[in-house]
């Protein structure tokens, strides 16, 4: 049998590379969208507060480590997430709220009924701040550092597992012994 040209192995090699690539994709969620704003400051805004008469700006998200939770009364998953937020707030975690494309009266009523874990709530009635933040649904939670920069964005409900796996490592990295 005459010797093969080494080129005949090319299809096989190409296929193996393809298989490796496909294998790497298994188990990953193709829908998961990393935030484009990680490492960037919170976009500037000037919006009313839900609970008080003041106007809130991006400065209200500076000065300490805090979460920014995007929620609305029309969002069923937010109901599920709410008790965990209350738990975090009780542990001393600062959580700011972003009431996203919602109506203020039902929102206030909701907080009155189910508890208010938020230090302050920004009213984003038309969703413009959400758009600037790259929000595409509710609930979402951002982790913001004292300089007002976004460190992490989690889309979906915040629960104990997500908190431990995604948020705690970042917090501990930056303030050892901090809230956990």
């Amino acid at each position: 049998m005459k010797a093969n040209s080494p080129w005949v192995f090319l299809p096989l090699v190409g296929f193996v590379l393809l298989a490796v690539l496909l294998a790497s994709g298994l188990g990953r969620d193709p829908q998961e969208l990393p935030s484009a704003l990680v490492g960037k400051p919170v976009p500037s805004f000037s919006l009313p507060s839900l609970m008080t008469d003041e106007t809130l700006t991006q400065d209200s998200l500076k000065g300490r480590w805090q979460l920014l939770n995007v929620w609305a009364t029309w969002c069923p998953t937010c109901y599920i997430e709410h008790p965990f937020l209350l738990e975090l707030a009780a542990r001393g975690v600062a959580i700011a709220g972003l009431n996203y494309k919602d109506e203020s009266d039902p929102a206030r009523q909701y907080l009155a009924e189910h508890g208010n874990p938020f230090t302050h709530v920004i009213v984003d009635a038309d969703g413009q701040l959400g758009l600037d933040l790259g929000v595409y649904g509710a609930p979402e939670t951002f982790l913001i550092n004292p300089d007002g920069e976004i460190v992490l964005r989690h889309a979906g409900d915040l629960n104990a597992r997500v908190w431990k796996e995604k948020f705690v490592p970042l917090l501990e990295q930056n303030q050892p012994g901090g809230e956990a």
């Binding site: 005949v8 299809p11 096989l12 296929f15 298989a19 690539l21 790497s24």
Partner: protein, 656 residues
């Protein structure tokens, strides 16, 4: 009881498949004719067992047996019978059963229709198909069993078939598509069998070719049906989205088209054998890859079935065994395939080589564009790829392909006089340019890409007409007698190529000249596109078998004359609560008028209505059907019918 019988039948099919994979090959290896002989009956047994499984699953759907998980997830007692039965392939597990059943069917048919093929070859081919069956059956039995029961707490009624699937399209699109996907396994099996044999019989291509052509035809129809279905069902008038699942069907089609042409060269001149074998392996591997992409959750798609990494891992493993195994065999054995015949640079072989290169590049573009997001994700870069990328390549590639098709059809095998060729091509060009120039100004002037596309499409058609006329006359017995003497294979080629021209013309027309309007309309309002007027007459509600509908009535007129009344709907399905947009389409040869209701505005007093004018869109599917018809014609050529009587080698030289 039916589900248990169906399940047991799958195990029986697996047993048959295992025997089929092993014994005939042993028989070939050790020259035991009896074992080789068993290949055909084993293939039949496998298929009969699979048929029993299909019947059992269908029966479970028919009697609304919601204790079977698959039935509970995809059916409902209010679902019309036709959809209850086609729901068999409405979900992951059942569609796998369809795959397996068709694979068994093809194997049985290969067994039945291959009397003129030497037994050893048949044994090898069926064994390979048996091995593939083993993979699918294991996949079903181990991870995706359609017969699993939900006991003891089974639902009183099912979750209903996804409303998007409650459509005649479901009844026909998947079966056609799968016939194509699965059909390429035959070419694959022939390729692997040829490699195993260690020396490729000159008649090999003649055996493999009809199977490949028919699979290709089915796939063509399947893809066209999918496009047509998406067009009227998805509500926004698109006919191709470069969605990963759509791309998954296009990949084997492109490779399959290259394969058909390569097989032509191999059959005719016993050349390109290694390449043809490789293409056959690639085409089927792409079918399997498509299966993987659709079911593994690796890519995002509106069409995706299951998103289960575990199942994905199984298919990937299967793909690695099948494709990896075949490609390794190819690498090791391909030296047995080389041939030392020659041909000149201007010859049909040369042009077909060019055709293959273009089709291969097109396949590669689709593959890269589909898989790339995965690749870049590994580099932490999340990107999206769709029309801009694909069209950017496909448009020039298609034009180049058409440009090569004409000299390919005109040229002789082995050597073609270049000057004669150029003269012939040049003679036809002016007619195409002039007709194309005028044609592309309808309904109004197109940009240069459109003009070029129409000119090329016309050139292709004129070239074939010219070729038909010359060949018919060449018999010297009068034009019509000559026409009748032209073989069906030849007519098949003419038809398929002209089908492509029609399709390209349709795509060009609709891409450059469609008009869309998004309008807020309440009853009494009127809108217009060109000379067409649409008046929103009224709105009413009615109840369907398993849905509630709000229906609009639109009076359409052209230049004041009434044309049609269209009834778009917005349906809410009871079982799932899903809301569906049913577009109303007035289909015409030259144009479609398309009206769909978007969202209700102003508390239901008005609607956001989308109105489209789409010229030439039907030509896309018409062209595809003409292409597929060409494949069928080629199959019925007399040289295949003669295979029933004579022995292999004698046929190779005289007829073609």
């Amino acid at each position: 009881m039916a589900a248990e019988i169906g399940h047991l039948s799958l195990w029986l099919a697996l047993a048959a498949a295992l025997c089929l994979s092993v014994f005939p090959l042993v028989g070939v290896q050790r020259n035991i004719l009896a074992l080789q002989w068993y290949a055909r009956p084993l293939a039949w047994v496998q298929w009969l067992a699979l048929t029993l499984s299909m019947v059992c699953l269908g029966y479970s759907f028919f009697i609304n047996d919601f204790s079977v998980a698959y039935v509970a997830n995809h059916s409902n007692s209010a679902l019309p019978v036709a959809y209850r039965l086609s729901a068999i392939w409405g979900g992951h597990e059942g569609s796998l059963l369809l795959w397996g059943w068709m694979l068994g069917g093809w194997a049985a048919m290969v067994g039945g229709l291959s009397r003129s093929v030497p037994l050893a070859m048949v044994a090898r081919v069926l064994s390979v198909m048996g091995m593939i069956s083993v993979g699918f059956l294991l996949f079903m039995l181990l991870t995706s069993n359609p017969f699993d029961r939900v006991l003891p707490w089974f639902p009183l009624d099912g979750a209903d078939l996804n409303p998007l699937l409650q459509d005649p399209g479901l009844i026909i699109h998947p079966p056609m598509l799968y016939m194509g996907y699965v059909g390429f396994s035959v070419a694959f099996a022939f390729a692997v069998a040829g490699l195993l044999a260690g020396n490729l019989d000159p008649a090999w291509a003649r055996w493999a070719r009809p199977w490949t052509t028919v699979a290709w035809s089915f796939l063509t129809v399947g893809i066209a049906l999918g496009s047509w279905w998406a067009y009227y069902e998805l509500g926004w008038g698109g006919w191709w989205f470069w969605d990963p699942v759509e791309n998954a069907s296009l990949l084997p089609w492109l490779a399959g088209t290259a394969l058909i042409h390569s097989l032509a060269v191999t059959e005719k001149r016993n050349l390109f054998r290694a390449w043809t074998v490789l293409l056959a392996i690639i085409a089927f591997s792409l079918s399997l890859l498509g299966t993987f992409l659709v079911r593994s959750g690796v890519l995002t798609s509106v069409h995706a079935f299951a998103n289960d990494p575990e199942r994905g891992a199984f298919i990937l493993g299967f793909l690695i065994v099948v494709a990896g195994g075949a490609l390794t065999l190819f690498a090791v054995r391909s030296s047995t395939l080389t041939n030392n015949k020659g041909f000149k640079p201007v010859s049909r072989e040369a042009f077909l080589l060019g055709n293959n290169l273009i089709l291969l590049t097109a396949t590669f573009v689709v593959l890269v564009g589909t898989i790339a997001p995965l690749f870049f994700e590994a580099l932490d870069l999340k990107i999206s790829i769709r029309s801009p990328y694909f069209n950017g390549f496909f448009v020039p590639l298609t034009m180049a392909l058409i440009v090569l098709m004409v000299p390919g059809v005109f040229s002789n095998w082995k050597r073609q006089d270049g000057r004669v060729l150029v003269k012939r091509m040049a003679m036809l060009a002016p007619a195409a340019v002039i007709a194309g120039w005028f044609g592309s100004r309808l309904p109004e002037p197109s940009p240069w890409q459109g003009v070029l596309a129409i000119m090329l499409a016309l050139y292709l058609v004129f070239a074939h007409v010219d070729d038909v006329v010359r060949r018919a006359r060449a018999y010297g017995q009068g034009f019509f007698t000559g026409l009748r003497k032209l073989g069906r294979a030849y007519w098949g080629m003419v038809s398929a190529h002209c089908g492509l021209a029609v399709m390209v013309a349709g795509i060009t027309l609709v891409s450059f000249h469609e008009v869309e309007r998004d309008i807020r309309m309440g009853p009494g309002d009127r809108a217009s596109i060109g000379e067409y007027d649409f008046v929103f007459d009224s709105l009413d509600n009615y109840q369907g078998p398993n849905f509630d509908s709000t229906r609009g009535h639109f009076q359409v007129s052209y230049q004041g004359e009434p044309v049609v009344i269209l009834h778009p709907e917005k349906r809410t399905y009871h079982a799932s609560g899903q809301i569906m947009t049913e577009a109303a389409i007035d289909a015409g040869f030259w144009r479609d008028l398309y009206v769909a209701m978007g969202e209700p505005l102003d508390d239901g007093n008005a609607w956001a209505v989308r109105i489209y004018f789409k010229p030439g869109i039907r030509w896309i599917w018409l062209g595809s059907l003409i292409m597929a018809f060409g494949g069928v014609l080629a199959l019925s050529d007399k040289r295949y019918r003669r295979l029933r009587f004579a022995n292999g080698e004698k046929e190779a030289t005289n007829e073609s």
